[in-house]
């Protein structure tokens, strides 16, 4: 069971090089780096509003390149919501999410109450290996939400996090605090249409 603190913990999973860190950094810092650096594990915090109060959104960016099963299990058991990222340029990267999903299922039991977003990143790339409908089909099967994003062009990034928070029916969360919009979130007005929740 997640411990009772005021944190709302989101964990980002996905294969190496699909853009987990890029998505998180785009969301948290609004920047994009065109460098190639693997992540060990990073955690970012941001204040959000939750049930007419505030709480800390804690985003854990995990490694895609070496999974110590024990650590993965630890992240899952501590997490409230999950973002499963693949790259639309790699069918393999979608494949690799399957055992992770299974692991979430195994640890959390009933995933229907757990907010999970399947994300096809790098939507700006032209060399597509995974069609949008394939991603949708996978999300259908997993009974989770789905979205395509591009951390590079900042397509659907804020929307991704807001939608994830919306999926949690037990809490009423928003990235906006007291109706005031922070700089980063002003982009949220654009591109609302691309998100489909299944």
């Amino acid at each position: 069971m997640p411990e009772q603190s005021n944190d709302y913990r989101v964990v980002v999973f996905g294969a190496g090089g699909v853009g987990k860190s890029s998505l998180v950094l785009r969301f948290v810092k609004g920047t994009f780096r065109d460098t190639y650096i693997p992540t060990v594990e990073d955690t970012y915090r941001q204040v959000i509003s939750c049930d007419k109060s505030v709480c800390t959104l804690q985003i854990t960016d995990t490694t895609g390149s070496h999974q110590f099963p024990a650590m993965q299990r630890l992240s899952i058991s501590k997490g409230h919501a999950f973002i499963l990222v693949y790259s639309i340029t790699s069918k393999q990267s979608l494949e690799e999410l399957k055992p992770i999903y299974q692991q979430v299922l195994a640890i959390k039991g009933n995933v229907e109450a757990i907010p999970i977003m399947l994300v096809g990143n790098k939507s700006d790339e032209t060399q597509r290996e995974v069609e949008t409908k394939d991603g949708e089909a996978q999300a259908n099967q997993w009974k989770c939400a789905f979205m395509e994003t591009s951390a590079k062009t900042n397509h659907n990034v804020t929307e991704l996090f807001q939608e994830l928070l919306n999926l949690d029916k037990k809490r009423n969360m928003s990235l906006n605090i007291d109706g005031k919009r922070s700089g980063k979130q002003s982009r949220a007005e654009r591109l609302k249409g691309k998100c489909s929740v299944m």
Binding site: A15, G16, G17, Y36, I37, P38, T39, V40, E41, T43, G64, S65, H66, F68, P69, A70, M71, R73, L74, S90, Q92, S93, E95, E96, P99
Partner: protein
């Protein structure tokens, strides 16, 4: 025995040292570490072997879990102690080598080897030196290993790498050679290790103790993977990796070729390292390795090297093979232009990236990756950056890391003079011969700082020895 001989000592590859010297080097390195570096922790020489403890448990596991399956389901390569893997490889080699298929007794094996080697020697004088270099080819940086050569050459050649250097010196004393060769077997070595003072440690280099699976993966990746973007980072097919893993675990003859996927082989290599019951850099030295980053930057390299000298031979040999690959991969990280002006895509895996990925596989203190071992991620974060920086340093200094500096060799020999005076002359003579038969280019590193061990009176008891350091 000549009196007044002087032998210039220059840095030599760790693997060229005899078993006796390597064991002594561990002591010398430990002493040096305690004396020169404050690593703020207790340092011990890692135990060679936690032998069979784990494998026995696995045997029980596999028996209870898979009663229906063959009794031989015990894994041969993954998740078992490194020394065990190497010993399994030997068995595998014996079984798969038609030449020696009929031999089951190790001493018989050695006899036949001895016979073959002396034949080779008679047939071609050159062969023995080329043979000995073959055993160390893959460690030489910038020189891509030649898997084809190694594969087409009769296996006896490679086995010949065990101790070819000394055959010239010893062929008039075959029984001694035989004894020496037998002592070089890792199992025997393990036993000898327990009685550290035993003078019967081999005077020959130990044959290169690198698991077959590591060697094959490294060779494959050096051939096919250097231009693969994100090698080791990008994911692999779990299914194909599992297949490969099973093939190695069943002790099959595995051939990796262009039909395999680079990312699968890369993942297999990582998996092997990750699943080792004791990590390659050992749990015992975990804190010491981590604490090297607290030292002045200029001291770190030497401290890391000394710690590396404490490792059991199979660990340091395997580390060397791995770092050879990683430094080659890092050299191909950036885009480059080939001779014909074509652009070659870089693999983007700099030494930092490689260290980020390999660090946690090489250096961790978790009991077992599969056990429920809850590690607080906050405390871990700092340590993991230390792990990465240590491993990055190893990749970057790969070329000098495995060269034993002259002053350490000197200390080893001095220490041997106290306990085994009769072997020092032999070792020195071999160093001299090796130096003559394999002249190094004057620009090669090491010659710049020679130390001279001057034997004033080389009497049987070597009591009066003057050691001069010439700078």
């Amino acid at each position: 025995i000549v009196s007044g001989r002087s032998v210039g000592l220059k840095p030599v590859p760790l693997q060229s040292l005899s078993e006796l010297e390597r064991v002594r080097l561990q002591d010398v390195a430990l002493r040096r570490l305690l004396q020169d570096h404050d690593l703020s922790c207790h340092i011990t020489i890692p135990k060679y072997d936690h032998k069979h403890k784990k494998s026995l448990r696995q045997k029980l596991d596999s028996l209870s879990k898979e009663k229906s399956k063959d009794k031989e389901t015990m894994p041969q390569a993954f998740g078992i102690p490194l020394s065990q893997v190497i010993s399994n490889d030997r068995t595998h080699k014996q079984r798969h080598d038609p030449l020696r298929g009929e031999h089951s007794d190790p001493s018989e094996l050695m006899l036949s080897f001895l016979h073959l080697t002396s034949n080779f020697k008679r047939a071609n004088k050159e062969l023995s030196s080329s043979n000995s270099s073959l055993s160390s080819t893959s460690e030489t940086p910038n020189e891509s290993p030649l898997p084809s050569t190694a594969d087409t050459a009769p296996r006896t050649h490679r086995r010949g790498g065990v101790s070819v250097d000394c055959i010239t010196d010893l062929d008039d004393n075959q029984s001694r050679l035989l004894e020496a060769l037998q002592l070089s077997l890792p199992v025997e070595a393990a036993e000898k290790r327990k009685k550290r003072q035993d003078k019967k440690l081999s005077l020959n280099p130990i044959y290169r103790q690198v698991p077959r699976v590591v060697d094959l993966c490294c060779q494959y990746l050096e051939k096919y993977g250097l231009q693969t973007v994100g090698i080791f980072r990008v994911g692999s097919s779990k299914k194909r990796v599992r297949q490969l893993r099973e093939e190695f675990d069943q002790g099959w003859e595995v051939h990796l070729d262009e039909e395999h996927c680079v990312h699968d082989v890369a993942a297999l290599l990582k998996e092997f390292l990750r699943d080792m019951p004791d990590p390659l850099l050992t749990r015992e030295l975990y804190t010491a390795f981590i604490n090297t980053i607290l030292l002045d930057y200029s001291d770190q390299e030497s401290a890391i090297q000394l710690l590396m000298f404490l490792l059991p031979p199979c660990n340091s040999d395997t580390l060397q093979r791995l770092l050879c690959l990683l430094s080659t991969v890092a050299m191909h990280a950036d885009d480059s232009i080939d001779k014909e002006g074509h652009e070659i895509t870089g693999n983007k895996m700099t030494s930092l990236n490689l260290a980020t990925i390999f660090g946690p596989n090489l250096l961790h203190k978790q009991k077992n990756s599969d056990k429920e071992f809850v590690v607080e991620s906050f405390a871990r974060a700092e340590e993991s950056s230390a792990i990465i920086s240590v491993v990055q340093r190893m990749i970057n200094t790969y070329e000098t890391l495995f060269m034993v500096p002259a002053d350490l060799q000197n200390e080893v020999l001095m220490s041997l003079l106290e306990t085994d005076p009769d072997v020092v002359d032999y070792l020195l003579r071999r160093k001299k011969t090796t130096a003559h038969s394999q002249p190094l280019s004057p620009h090669s590193q090491g010659i710049s700082n020679p130390k001279v061990l001057h034997l004033e009176k080389a009497l049987p008891h070597f009591q009066q020895i003057k050691v001069m350091h010439i700078y």
